[in-house]
Symmetry: C3
Subunit: 318 residues, 3 copies
């Protein structure tokens, strides 16, 4: 898509040479064929060093653009960005793609749908009512239980177990907001990558990334009803007990253990080998590995235990 | 159905002229063809002014009936009401209805089921494994992702996005209780109405009303795992972050923002432009619009922040 | 399967006569054809009185074995046990079994899958997209709404209502752990038994037992998003409000009422007629029946109410 066409769609003017673009990305990760966007002046250094050649940008950042950059001037970059994501959004199905490739010894129930462009490994079982979307790749030895949904372009590794009702790759929850209080969808054009030996319990939902990928790394195990928001990166061999939710772009190290009904804010970084007891509410990043935490607001588990004793004492006072 | 037949089913006597009834409703909303019921004497003024002509009623309220009313005398109105809801419950499928109408340019996967009596608009996509029940109406440009379920008689507007695993119109959770501790189902004979431009995240559940409708109004956006109980009315452009639950008959104004893992009791009224931080537990109605709230019990967000500091100080004391 | 074959698979030596085994079970429940395992010396009396004849056992417990027992010596019994569960795990589908038996007046949608070996009662409705696994049994008059999944070998009683998105019999969440932090799946070879007149709300998940059964007893009612972990035993006529989770092996008495977003730890025993208000967090067993509880940590409801007042007062202090 040409930058000039995007400007036309936005009804905004563009400056510089016209550029052919294949997708959009956040500033720090954009390549020369991707449209970048800069929302706030605190990102000016990322802007100056960006590899992108085309930008959505507010007036006050134009002087920080790399040399020879092309750009569209936006009053509200966030809103323009949302509108542009729709232009790069892929259709949910593409019947014109080649028929799916099914590996040796794999079984696909006649009541499962595997869309065109999908590539399924060997010794895979895809049970009735499962949905495997366009261009999805599934590794060897994985089992997809009934009524699982895997949205287009997602990747599931080898020896995974995906239980019924799991939804992999639904849209992350992202909107820009108009001045009159309407919410404009930021189309989620990334995907989900599930590495090898991951087990995902019944009725979990792992959202696709807005750009790039949501990742569940090797050997992690999810109990039922786990919510993983867009762009999370879950480290190897982590464990999630039921009804826990992880906010967008949060990154966990390896071998974290998260007990039931816990919740994490978005954009956190959590050190490896961290443990969280039930109903932990995590709102800040954790740098030191190996800690044990509890409560909301979160604290060291031993502090939380002492605090509960002291809170209980309030009731004993006259 | 005749009131006399209902009395026969309940093994109770009826008083007055026999009346033909087409459904049941709560007292304040009943029309002349609906069976009304009055449980408690605090509703006597609603009873006196009711447009209904047929009632389930306890002995102590008979004198408050409108003139010429017909009625069935009940020892336990709540229990009798539950039994009657079953009589008005519609069958889950009606093969004898006309074949569904599918609008122009709409795509229905061969592995989706659209029941008879359904009317689907133009430019709709209904993907594999989706279920669209009897008499369901879906507007133009809406996408129903795989393995969505829409129960009979529900309505989905234009330009909606319904993600996989969503269940629209399952029964609300309502029971009357016998003296021996058994729970008698109150059949949920209402529906769900989703207005235009609503997006519903993976694995949400929006229950049908017991009578009338559960409503999600224009432009509201739901993240994953949202629970909306029967008879809720969710205002325009509201936002629900993951794993939040709303109790029955609770009514939210427009542009409310509810963060993750929050919960609302039933029968609340929440003013427009209210914001709730993560894990809010809301048990009382809110009349003033534009407030920001936190905690359980709920309080103003700034009070909650101060309280957390003070609670933390308990741990510093010797 | 011969004990000698299991030892070979584990690369461990076995002692005693070879024994033919048909399954595995926990120590206290093992029969003479089941492989038992003893992890810790605190179980030595159960070991001495066990009816099992074959054991996985650590060195320090050998002297407590019943006479003539055969055994495999394990450095890490828990890990060996996990490996053995895989040997006894049944295939997800068995096409060679007889075609399902469907009772009188029952309706199975052409887009539902009922696997071989299943037995469906009379007057059952199985709607589109539902999955009924190998050897599942369903009683009379039960309705299975669209996109329900019932895994193999599970049992659903008479007059049950199973709403869309429910998953019955997915694997419980159980792993043994290697010294390098990997999680080895304990295959869940038990099932789920749903007794008569149970209603299960949209998108609930009830996990199958590791050994034996997870049980939901007569007349219990589950709202949406209820998580019941493996090996729970839920008493008659209990009520679960939305988004509640019950940990593994927890046993509830009859007529318990659990309000929304509550959670129970694993291995608890809860007395009959116990009531829990919203967001209760239950970590200890309750022996006295009829109590009302709140909070996390849990306390008597009246104490919790008083405590909230006292906590709120912290904010009034200068």
């Amino acid at each position: 898509m040409l930058l000039s066409d995007i400007a036309l769609h936005l009804n905004l003017s563009f400056v510089g040479l016209d550029v052919e673009l294949d997708s959009m990305n956040e500033l720090a990760l954009s390549t020369s064929t991707q449209l970048a966007f800069a929302v706030h002046k605190r990102y000016f250094s990322e802007l100056e060093s960006s590899r992108a050649r085309a930008f959505l940008i507010p007036h006050n950042l134009v002087t920080h653009l790399p040399q020879n950059a092309s750009y569209i001037l936006c009053d509200d970059v966030s809103l323009s960005m949302a509108h542009v994501t729709k232009l790069f959004h892929k259709k949910p199905i593409e019947p014109e793609l080649p028929r799916p490739v099914i590996g040796k010894n794999s079984i696909v129930d006649a009541l499962a749908r595997v869309e065109n462009g999908a590539v399924i490994g060997a010794d895979v079982i895809i049970m009735a009512g499962a949905y495997v979307g366009t261009n999805v790749r599934i590794g060897d030895g994985t089992i997809i239980y009934p009524n699982v949904t895997i949205y287009r372009d997602c990747v599931v590794g080898n020896e995974c177990i995906i239980h019924s009702g799991v939804v992999i790759g639904a849209d992350g929850f992202g909107f820009s907001h108009t001045k009159t209080g309407e919410h404009v969808k930021i189309y989620q054009n990334g995907n989900v990558i599930i590495e090898d030996c991951v087990e995902i319990g019944a009725n979990c939902a792992i959202d696709r990334a807005v750009f790039n990928a949501t990742i569940i790394r090797h050997g992690s195990k999810l109990d039922n009803f786990i919510h993983i928001a867009h762009n999370c990166d879950i480290g190897e061999h982590s464990i999630f007990v039921a009804q826990t939710g992880i906010g967008g772009s949060t990154k966990l190290g390896r071998n974290c253990v998260i007990s039931g009904q816990s919740a994490f804010s978005d954009h956190l970084e959590i050190a490896s080998f961290s443990t969280f007891t039930a109903r932990s509410g995590v709102t800040k990043s954790i740098k030191e590995s190996g800690g044990v935490y509890s409560g909301f607001p979160l604290m060291k588990h031993k502090d939380w235990k002492r605090l509960q004793v002291r809170i209980a004492k309030l009731n004993e006072e006259k």
